[in-house]
């Protein structure tokens, strides 16, 4: 892991202006963007459902359910040992089934629904890691945390929560159980990597890896999914993960765009890290 200097020197002067702008953007996001966005996602799910199996969840139920989940925050985890050396304490899942990579995606899920399960598990893993990072930072285990990094983590965490809920709503709409577990294939690696994290730069590097895997997986699936609705959902999430990646690179002092491991910028994002 590369060591980066993220010293907090402190922002002078115009923080209030920037915060005001961001608040305005955030207000617009929640007042206008969010309902419209969830409406769009629910339409996708309706369309997906029309093409697959009978729904057990109405659109209204979905909208209410998602709203509650987004407000609620934490995603559950199973299949992960209590990692992070005490850095994070995660909520236990309601049903503590421990999945392995051999049993994932769960039996009975095929095609687009299996992809939905994998996507939800990846999002859960991201939520898990960001939550753990926040917890470690709050406990003072990562040294000084730049304000921008804190905002990045909380915002990215909220968005990954929404992504997970969207995929779980797809599963629920098709009468399938929601995936509340983290991805069992990647969890051991993330677990091991997180145990080595001692500062914010290392956390950012780990986040970069997770975001890259998520973005590349969505990218790969966009051309493999069958349902137009699922393609639309996948395609609406991939660019957001890519935006997370850009800002992470910026925070790390590297060119803020997709690049090779050697730092060469790329005009087309690859899929070699897709799961």
């Amino acid at each position: 892991m590369k060591k980066k200097n993220l010293n907090n020197v402190g922002f002078q002067g115009t923080e209030s202006e920037l915060l005001a702008m961001t608040r305005e953007l955030d207000d617009m996001h929640h007042d206008v963007g969010m309902p419209a966005m969830w409406e769009g996602v629910s339409n996708m799910i309706d369309n997906l459902s029309d093409n697959t199996q009978a729904r057990s969840t109405s659109r209204r139920t979905f909208l209410l359910g998602v709203g509650g989940a987004v407000a609620g925050g934490a995603i559950l985890s199973a299949g992960l040992s209590p990692l992070l050396a005490g850095a994070a304490t995660l909520q236990k899942p309601a049903t503590s089934s421990v999945l392995t990579s051999k049993t994932f995606p769960p039996a009975g899920l095929k095609g687009d629904l299996a992809v939905a399960a994998v996507a939800a598990s990846l999002e859960n893993l991201a939520v898990y890691a960001y939550n753990a990072g926040l917890k470690a930072a709050t406990a003072g285990k990562l040294g000084t945390v730049p304000p921008a990094v804190g905002t990045f983590v909380t915002t990215a965490l909220a968005q990954h929560t929404q992504h997970a809920e969207a995929w779980n709503a797809v599963l629920a709409s098709n009468g399938k159980a929601k995936v509340t577990e983290v991805n069992p294939t990647l969890a051991p690696t993330v677990n091991a990597d997180f145990a080595k994290v001692t500062d914010v730069a290392q956390l950012a590097e780990l986040a970069l890896t997770l975001e890259t895997i998520a973005a590349e997986t969505y990218q790969a699936e966009t051309s493999k999914l069958m349902s137009k609705a699922a393609i639309g959902l996948s395609a609406s999430i991939q660019p957001v993960e890519m935006q997370h990646i850009a800002i992470l690179y910026y925070v790390l002092g590297e060119y803020p765009g997709i690049q090779t491991s050697g730092g060469a910028t790329l005009a087309f994002s690859p899929i070699n890290q897709a799961v």
Binding site: L6, V9, G10, F11, G13, T14, E15, E17, L18, L19, M21, T22, D26, H29, G33, A36, M37, A148, V149, G150, T151, F152, T155, Q162, H163, A166, A215, Q219, T222, S223, I231, G232, A235, S236, I237, Q238, P239, V240, M242, Q243, A246, I247, Y250, V251, L252, G253, E254, P256, G257, I258, Q259, G262, G263, A264, T265, L266, A267, F268, S269, P270
Partner: protein, 286 residues
């Protein structure tokens, strides 16, 4: 702003090296794409292989021989963009041509921006300068790829900009005339942001519209790159508006100085919208 000229020169050199390195895998990917498309549509085998390089030369040639905007004069893009695009054959071809037309406009816009001293000269912010150069190059590669895919399906290459957005760009470019460096940079960033977001939203939508899985993969490989451009421009715009251009920097320690809001301003939505996506056939070849 204090500019370390040597560091800037190194950055520029590095930028060129990065481009050369980056082009390699891109060409390989593009060649692969063309191969796959040729397998699906056996027409024009040799033309497809030659197209990428030929079209790139054509674009670069037109850009260098017809400057779109005098550095200080604020001229319009009308001369180079006079005959814009319109309609074609199959749905995928039209969508690809429209995408190419958006990329052509983006290339022209960045090319123009780089003639402005506060974007393209040695006194410009090093990150903004590098971003403009790298991004222009990436858009040229995207245009090449979309046109190669359109040709592989039997369509024509789109070398014109999207006709619907040309007036928007012209108006924005005209407004830069006589602007100060600070206001001019903000104007360029705002214009680029608008174009990048249109591109990203269009390609997100296009993944659901194109029939071929190869073309879906192509749009999927580009949409996120445009979204990253949007994220960077949003962050740059916010820092400029906040009067903190010195924080548009990749120097060690910068992250620690960034205001909290800078950590999230680049990704305002959890799901990428498509409400400003260009209509699928808007930039198709007539």
């Amino acid at each position: 702003m204090n500019v370390d000229q040597r560091a800037l020169a190194e950055l520029l050199e590095e930028s060129q090296d990065l481009q050369a390195d980056a082009m390699r895998p891109t060409h390989e990917a593009l060649d692969e794409l063309v191969e796959v498309n040729r397998a699906a549509s056996p027409s024009e085998p040799n033309e497809n292989l030659q197209f990428h390089e030929e079209h790139k030369r054509g674009v670069l040639s037109s850009l260098t021989t017809a400057p779109l905007l005098a550095a200080a004069g604020g001229l319009t893009l009308v001369g180079a963009l006079a005959s814009a695009a319109s309609a074609s054959s199959s749905q995928d071809i039209q969508i690809l041509q429209t995408a190419a037309s958006i990329e052509n406009l983006a290339v022209a816009t960045y090319k123009t921006a780089l003639t402005l001293p506060y974007i393209g000269s040695s006194s410009a912010n090093a990150v903004v300068n590098k971003f403009a150069r790298v991004t222009m190059n990436q858009h040229a590669q995207h245009a090449d790829a979309f046109n190669a895919a359109a040709k592989a399906l039997g369509g024509k290459a789109q070398t014109k900009p999207d006709p619907a957005f040309v007036p928007v760009v012209n108006k924005a470019v005209a407004s830069l005339s006589g602007a100060s460096a600070a206001k001019g940079t903000l104007g360029v960033v705002g214009l680029a942001l608008e174009l990048e977001n249109i591109a990203a939203e269009t390609y997100v939508k296009d993944t659901t519209l194109v029939a071929s899985s190869v073309n879906k993969a192509l749009f999927a490989s580009v949409m996120g790159v445009e979204a990253q451009h949007v994220a960077v421009l949003l962050a740059v715009q916010a820092l400029l508006n906040a009067g903190a251009p010195q924080l548009i920097s990749l120097a060690p320690g910068t992250a620690g100085m960034l205001p909290a809001a800078a950590g999230s301003v680049g990704f305002p939505n959890a799901f990428y919208k498509t409400n400003t996506a260009a209509p699928a056939t808007q930039g198709a070849v007539k």
